[in-house]
Symmetry: C2
């Protein structure tokens, strides 16, 4: 009885929220690949709730494809780069990042920075094309959008919001060294218990690991720059007609929707305007196509292993392919490889969910992309991780720390290594148990990640912002933020007092001495 | 259509949460007065959802009164103190705190510390009575509770949880200087933009205010001790039979339910296991009793002003009472004073909500208790704050900073001051607007505060804890936490390298010089 009553009350409350926000207009500055797939889940939900969603794509966009049938509106901005050129350069970047995985620390991150800058230069070019397109900007102005939704990893969304004088919300997976989160969002990452992103460390660190983490932090804070900041700052200052910086504009974000949660991420401090909405793209498993279901059923009690190494497969050497094939041939489970048409991991993205949610799935061999790992968490499937680049090694390190995955090195693993890893995650019940624990944590949240993401976007539209969640840290310079001026002032005060006291004592001593001397004379 | 569909889905999800947690057993270590009233709202809701709630009261408890008809179970522990003695000593404490309000910084906080210690000594005595009562402890053991719910401001709940080997959840309004939050909970409060509690500062501080805040922080970190820590540590070590500290046991809390939210508090960093559930006791206004409704209606367009100064009224001098009365006589609004039977502010607590929610209420004259302020926020009523002690000055400073209140000084205000303050909050539309803004923020949350509080208590019962939300900071010593060992080590490394290089250069120089000398010879 009381349950029903409470449910009814909650329904009323939720209906109020759902109905009270009259439908709004959302402008989207998208990113490609897995980023787009993830943000698209939010956009589809926004459309479902009656909002008008306009995606600002450049004419060479690959995934935000206006030709695909979709309830989303597209606003296309022409650029000089052709689609093939754009795709080729992105392919090159991804391939290069995957190639440099054997580099040691310093050259590795130098290369990562170089690639981020190349990618950033391309985005800046597109951004310039948009903001200098007077006709387009006039149209956007006239459309009177309520909010801009942007991926923080691709700058420009915040500039558009600033030009259109509307609030904006970020979606973000992570940035190398948490640079954007720190400098743009004001997040805090104490190095003693928060491993720097891409460090592959866990939250419980030994002394030497903490030393390593500190070196990472110093490196990322002082040397590494996600973007070619100087150029971005100049560009933003020029467009806005006043001296400003990229981070200053980023810091105006109303809400940060981080595509992570505490089933995946190690707990760390957060801010009131940060929501962890990892796994918002996950959905309950749908029935498999008949042919596939028959294949899965034919595996009997042994079940199946889902195999998807994303982008790496197409570039794999024959030797590596043989190592994998020979291990897979030796396990009693059937293998469900996901076909790959192009390098883009997202081509198989849509297929993973249903297969991972099948009760006969015993393990998931994965390259460690965040979206795929969230599918495994959602369905409670233990993993064998063979990470290659970007956040993949870090993702697998997290799953390993939480006892839900075994990690292998793609370049050095032998057939036996892979076989043993598979046997371990399938036969040691602890791995399944830990994966199920993560799954239970993921499913047991007061509000589902997707609903939370949409709630806060709608909140920003309803209230024209969410300034009450914004820490005052954003109004301070870096030395004010670290209280260096205050500490300096207080030390100066103490020094002055000590100086005056010493001076006085010295004077008294001198006076006394002179007095004594005088007496003696 | 899509709205309905979404609502239905959300209902299913919520019903799942509500029904999936089979009913659990909650043990409560309560605190008195407003603290009890607040936690009782949670307990009533837990009972409504089918949980068994047992309150561990000492025989002298004032508000957690087992003689009141209630669906709560009471477990009474006898103590040597009589009820009158207990009440008298608490009355004395509250009176004393209110008396020292005119003290300057240093003596004021010395007195506050002295009072906290006196109160703490009393709590420790009760705690000793409980844990040394073998019969009671055996009964509690056998009852197999799922979770302990305790107010962090009254230690002992965490000790009971440790002895019973069950998880525990804290409810907390605040602690002086955020000592418990910092040392027990691992919260972060950067002094550059988070004003220390009881400092009456706002989040946007001038340079001198930041200096002041830093001095507050240093004072609270190095001098002020909320509790007589040495005695508590000894007591806990003795009871648990191993060297431990109060803060070490407090740090095991699964969830901290902070009785605050960003409509009231200035945004600051938080942790994944912290929920801000301020205002969970607020409910929509019920119709007033007939007599009172007639009185309110007779006010016409001018409306009424609600007047409740909590504990201070009974101790008020005639002169102060006259100042207030003469101001109230001059406004066109009718006055609704809340009668006070005893010093306990909570006697009128239950009456405030309905009156503040009345459409004819124009303003609220308040002493600034957190519960009352939340009622005003909930209903969007501007305030005139006349704070006296504890968090009251800070609370009013927050409301003033958010533009919803005018602050007066109880001891120095004149009749004209009060009159002008009332006129300002009633006639300047900005105050009502700001109060309504806070109200809108308060009402527009994905899940209501009370539901969130209950959700996380149920979560802890369902999963036997919430360790995935606990930062690894708790496993570090203070110097590890601040990375002092790592910084020391790295500086030593740098020094060694510099030393070796200098030494080598010196050797080379010496060698070269000797060579030259040899040649010359």
């Amino acid at each position: 009885m009381s349950m029903k009553w409470t449910s009814a009350l909650l329904l009323i409350q939720l209906s109020y929220y759902l109905s009270s926000g009259s439908c709004g207009k959302v402008l989207v500055w998208p990113t490609e690949f897995s980023h787009w797939m993830n943000i698209k889940t939010i956009l589809d939900e926004l459309v479902q709730r009656g909002h008008e969603v306009t995606v600002l794509a450049y004419s060479t966009s690959i995934l935000p494809d206006p030709n695909n049938p979709s309830p989303l509106k597209f606003e296309i901005c022409p650029t000089s780069l052709t689609e093939t050129e754009f795709e080729d350069s992105v392919t090159q970047l991804v391939k290069r990042w995957s190639d440099i995985r054997k580099d040691t620390f310093w050259p590795h991150f130098l290369h990562v920075q170089e690639m981020m800058w190349t990618y950033g230069d391309m985005i800046r070019k597109f951004c310039k094309d948009v903001v200098s397109n007077k006709k387009l900007m006039k149209k956007l102005q006239e459309s009177r959008f309520d909010v801009v939704l942007a991926d923080a990893i691709s700058p420009c969304g915040e500039l558009l919001a600033e030009l259109l004088k509307i609030p904006f919300v970020y979606s973000l997976r992570f940035s190398p060294g948490y640079a954007l989160e720190k400098h743009g969002g004001g997040f805090l990452f104490p190095p003693s218990y928060v491993p720097v992103s891409m460090s592959e460390l866990r939250d419980q660190m030994t002394f030497l690991e903490r030393v390593q983490n500190m070196i990472y932090m110093v490196y990322f804070d002082l040397w590494f720059q996600v973007w070619d900041i100087k150029n971005w700052d100049q560009f933003y200052s020029k467009v806005l007609g006043r001296p400003t910086t990229l981070f200053e504009i980023m810091a105006k974000a109303e809400i940060w929707l981080i595509r992570n949660y505490w089933d995946f991420q190690f707990p760390h401090p957060l801010l009131p305007n940060v929501e962890f909405v990892g796994g918002l793209h996950c959905k309950p498993a749908k029935p498999l196509p008949k042919e596939m279901e028959e294949f899965v059923q034919s595996s009997g009690d042994n079940g199946v292993v889902v195999f998807s190494l994303g982008s790496m497969v197409s570039n794999m050497s024959e030797e590596r392919a043989n190592v994998i094939a020979s291990a897979l041939a030796k396990i009693p489970q059937k293998i469900l490889p996901l076909r790959l048409y192009r390098f883009i991991p997202m081509n198989n993205f849509a297929k993973i969910p249903s297969i991972l949610g099948h009760p006969k799935t015993r393990a998931f061999i994965t390259h460690g992309g965040a979206n795929g790992i969230y599918e495994a968490i959602y369905h409670g499937v233990p993993m064998v991780g063979v990470p290659l680049f970007a956040d993949q090694p870090d993702n697998i390190a997290h799953m390993k720390a939480k006892g839900a995955a075994v990690r292998l090195d793609f370049d050095t693993m032998s057939s036996t290594d892979l076989l043993n890893a598979l046997k371990t995650v399938i036969n040691d019940p602890l791995y399944k148990e830990n994966a199920m624990k993560l799954s239970r944590i993921h499913h047991d949240q007061p509000v589902k990640p997707l609903d939370r993401a949409v709630f806060w976007i709608e909140f920003v539209m309803r209230h024209k912002g969410a300034k009450h969640l914004r820490v005052a840290a954003h109004d301070l310079t870096w030395f004010q933020y670290h209280s260096l001026d205050v500490i300096g002032f207080l030390l100066a005060c103490v020094a002055t007092v000590i100086f005056i006291i010493t001076k006085c004592l010295f004077c008294v001593w001198k006076f006394v001495r002179t007095g004594k001397k005088g007496k003696r004379d």
